[in-house]
Subunit: 305 residues, 3 copies
C-alpha cells in the first residue's frame, strides 16, 4: 500500500498528528492563503453509506482549496447494484480523481481498496473499523479548547460499537492523556481495545456513572446510545437516561469543561447545554473543514498544480 493512504488513526505518530493540526491551525487563521492552492484537483467521493457531516465537510474542504469533487452518488444509484466488486469500483474511480475518500459498511474495506489504487485514499469510515479524519478533527477541537497536554478526558455512551471512540482513544495514547470510560456494563469498551490501550501505556479507568468523575474532567466526549442495541424499549429508556447530560448536571463540572459529541445527537445532550460555554460540538463539526483541508493539502502535495 502507498504510504500516503490514510486508513487508520493507528498509523499516525504524534509527529504526524501535530503536523496535520499545525497545518489546520494555519489554514483556519488565513483560509484565503490557500483558496486556489489545489485549483484543478478533483477529489473522488465514494460513499457506500449515508453521511451528512463527513461528506459535506470533505466537499467543502476540497472546494475551499480551489479544487472540486467527482461524486459516485448514492449507492443504489450506482453500478454496485450490478454486482461490481469494490476493487473494480475504486480502480475505475482512481482514473477520474486525484485522491479518493471512501466510506463503506464493511470493516477492512479501506485497507483492501488502498491496495488497488495509485492515488491517495482516505478512509472515511469502514463499518466498526476506523475513521481517522474524525479523530484528527476531535484532536484539533481538544487542542483548541483544552490543550492536548495533561489532559483528563471522559468518554461516555456506547463504547462497545463506536469506531469514533476507539480511534480517538488510540490517538490519545500519543499524548499520555488520562482516559476515563463511562458506560453501562453492556456497552463497555471491548476487552481487546482495553488491552491495546494498555500496550500503548495508557491508563484506562472505567466507570458506570459520570457523577464521580465529572468534576475532574477537562473534556467530556459524549456519544449516542443506540436504541437498536437493546431488545427492550424500557431498558433502553432507562439506560439512555442515565447517560444524558443537561445544563443542571454540568453545574458540578469545572467552568472550563469542554463538552464534545461527534453528532448527530438525539437527546444525549439536552438543548439547554447548547448555549453554555461548555458546548463545543458544533465547533467540532465545523473543524472538519480546516482539518480536512490540511489533510488534503498534505496528501495532494504540490505536484497537482
Amino acid at each position: 500500500m502507498r504510504q500516503d493512504h490514510l486508513v487508520t488513526s493507528k498509523q499516525l505518530s504524534r509527529a504526524d498528528v501535530e503536523a496535520v493540526l499545525d497545518r489546520a491551525a494555519e489554514i483556519d487563521a488565513d483560509p484565503g492563503a490557500v483558496a486556489d492552492r489545489h485549483a484543478g484537483s478533483l477529489l473522488g467521493l465514494l460513499f457506500f453509506e449515508p453521511s451528512t457531516r463527513t461528506k459535506m465537510s470533505f466537499e467543502a474542504a476540497i472546494k475551499r482549496l480551489g479544487g472540486d469533487t467527482v461524486d459516485m452518488g448514492a449507492v443504489d444509484a450506482s453500478s454496485v447494484t450490478k454486482g461490481e466488486s469494490l476493487a473494480d469500483t475504486v480502480r475505475v474511480a482512481a482514473g477520474y480523481a486525484d485522491a479518493l475518500v471512501l466510506r463503506h459498511p464493511r470493516q477492512g474495506a479501506a485497507t483492501m481498496a488502498g491496495e488497488f489504487v495509485n492515488v491517495p485514499l482516505i478512509n472515511a469510515g469502514d463499518g466498526a473499523g476506523h475513521h481517522p479524519s474524525q479523530t484528527l478533527l476531535d484532536l484539533y477541537t481538544i487542542q483548541e479548547n483544552a490543550g492536548l497536554d495533561d489532559l483528563t478526558i471522559g468518554i461516555m455512551g456506547d463504547l462497545k460499537y463506536g469506531r469514533t471512540v476507539h480511534s480517538l482513544s488510540y490517538a490519545l495514547t500519543n499524548f499520555e492523556a488520562d482516559q476515563h470510560f463511562i458506560s453501562p456494563e453492556s456497552l463497555q469498551l471491548p476487552r481487546e481495545v482495553v488491552y491495546d490501550l494498555h500496550l500503548e501505556g495508557a491508563t484506562v479507568r472505567e466507570h458506570e456513572g459520570y457523577e464521580a468523575i465529572l468534576p475532574s474532567l477537562d473534556v467530556l466526549y459524549v456519544t449516542r446510545i443506540q436504541r437498536e442495541r437493546f431488545p427492550d424499549e424500557n431498558e433502553y429508556q432507562q439506560v439512555a437516561g442515565e447517560y444524558r447530560i443537561d445544563a443542571d448536571a454540568l453545574e458540578a463540572a469545572e467552568d472550563d469543561l469542554t463538552v464534545m459529541h461527534p453528532l448527530p445527537r438525539v437527546d444525549e445532550i439536552a438543548p439547554d447545554v447548547d448555549d453554555t460555554d461548555h458546548a463545543a460540538y458544533f465547533e467540532q463539526a465545523h473543524n472538519g473543514v480546516p482539518v480536512r483541508m490540511a489533510l488534503l493539502d498534505m496528501l495532494l502535495g504540490d505536484g497537482d498544480e
Copy 2:
C-alpha cells in the same frame, strides 16, 4: 433572526423587489460581468424534499457567479434518518457554507432554522408556507413580458394549497395589480388569504370559469390541480378539464397575453400552446437563474471575496 434571511415574500417591500429585479436584469444583460464575482463562495443546499427546477437553478446561479455548492444530498441518504433535529442539521451546515438554501416539508421550518444560523438562509419552500425566490422569478417574468404597472392578472387552478399562488398574490399587492382568481369552489383561495389581501388594499375577484375574464387579462398564471385532492377520479377528470388551456381557448385572449406556469405541468396547458407567443413558462423557469444570481449576489455581499 438576521435581517438577511429570505423566508417569506411578505417581508419584501416594493423597493426590495425592485432592487432584486433590477439587479437580475443587469445580470441577464451581461452575465460575464459577474462570472467570478463570488469565486470561493459556497452555497449549502439542504433539500429535505425532491425538487428539480429550484435546486438546479440555485446550483446554476451560484456557479454562474463563480461560486460552488455543498450539497446535503437526498434526505434518505443523510443523518436526518438517524433522528437529528433540523436545528442541529442547519447549525452544522452553516459551518460548511457561506449561505444556505433550505427546502423542507414542514411549514415554518425556514423561520425556525433561521434562528439557529449566522449565515444568510433562503427559504426554498416550506410545506404549504412560502417560496419567495419563486415569487421573485414570477415577478421578473411578468415585468419582462407585461410590465408590473397597471397589471390585470388571472391566477387559475388549485388556489387552496398552492404556496406559489399565495406568495405571488401578496407580492402583487405592492404593485396594485388587478387580481382575478379562477378555480373550482372546492379549491378557492383560503379565506384568510383573501382577508390578508384585502388588508393590503388589493381588489380580489373570484371566478369559477376563465371564459368571461380571459379577454381582459395581461397575464394568465396557471397552476396544477392535483389528482389527490379529489376522492373520486371522475370528479377530478371533470374539474381538471374545465381549467385546461389550449391554443383554441387562447383565441379569445389578447394577442399579447402572457401565459405562465410554475411547472411541472401535467396537462393543464396543452402542448399546442408551447409554440404560441403566449407561452412564457419555459422562459419563467429559466429566469430562476438570473433572479437567484441577483438574490445570492445581494445576500453574499462583497465580504466573501
Copy 3:
C-alpha cells in the same frame, strides 16, 4: 435537430471519429493546456437511470476543462415523479446549462429530447439504443493499444441486448475491421444489426466459442452475460462459464492481444487477467475522461468563454 447533438455513433463519419480521437490524444498528452479552457461552462447531467462510470467521467471531463456541472440528481428525487414529460424536463434544463448529457431507459429518448433543446445534447445511453461516447472511448482504447487499421477484433458475450456492442460494430465499419462475434445462439447479434453491418460492407463472422478464433485476434472485447436473460439458473451458469476468460485461456492468444470490457464486470474476466499485459479495461474506463473532454470541447466551441 441541431447538427451538434450527439445521439448515435451512426451519425459519425470516419473523419468525425478521427477528429475526436486526435483531440483526445492531444488532451491526454497535455491536460494542463485545457485546464481553464471552458471556465464558466455548465454541463447539465440528466440521468434517469443509475450510472457510475459514465456520470463520473462526464463530471471529471467538464471539471478538467475548468467548467462545472448542474445535476438533476437521482430520478426519484425529481419532478419526473410528478408526471412531467421528458420534453418539459429537458427544455427547462437547457436554460440552466450550456450543454446536456442525457441517460434514459427508453430507446429513442435522446432523439426526441434533442428536438426540444437549443444547446448541444449528448446521448449517454437510451435503453437498448445508443451510447456514442462509450463507442468513442472504445475506439480510442483500440487505437492506443492495437491501432484501428487492419484490425481483427472478437466481440463476445451478450450480443443481442448490448447497445455498447452494436454501436461499436457500426463504428468499426468505418475502419474496415475484421469483426468476429462470439456468443451462445440465444444471445446472437440481432439479424437486423447483421444486415445493417453487411450493408456497410462489413465482413461479419459468428462463432459459438472463442477457442478457434482467439489466436488470430488483436482485440477481444468481452461483455457481461446477464443472469436475467435465462429462465433457468443452471443454464445461465453453464453458458456463462463457456464465455469466461482467465489467464490460462489467454495463453493461446498473441502476446499483444488487448482485452477490453465496458465494465462493470461480474466474473466474465477472472481477476488473474488484471495483472497481465492483455488487460486494458481499466485504462478503457479511464479513457472516458480525455475522450469526453475532447467531445465537450468540440461541442462547447469557443463561444462560451
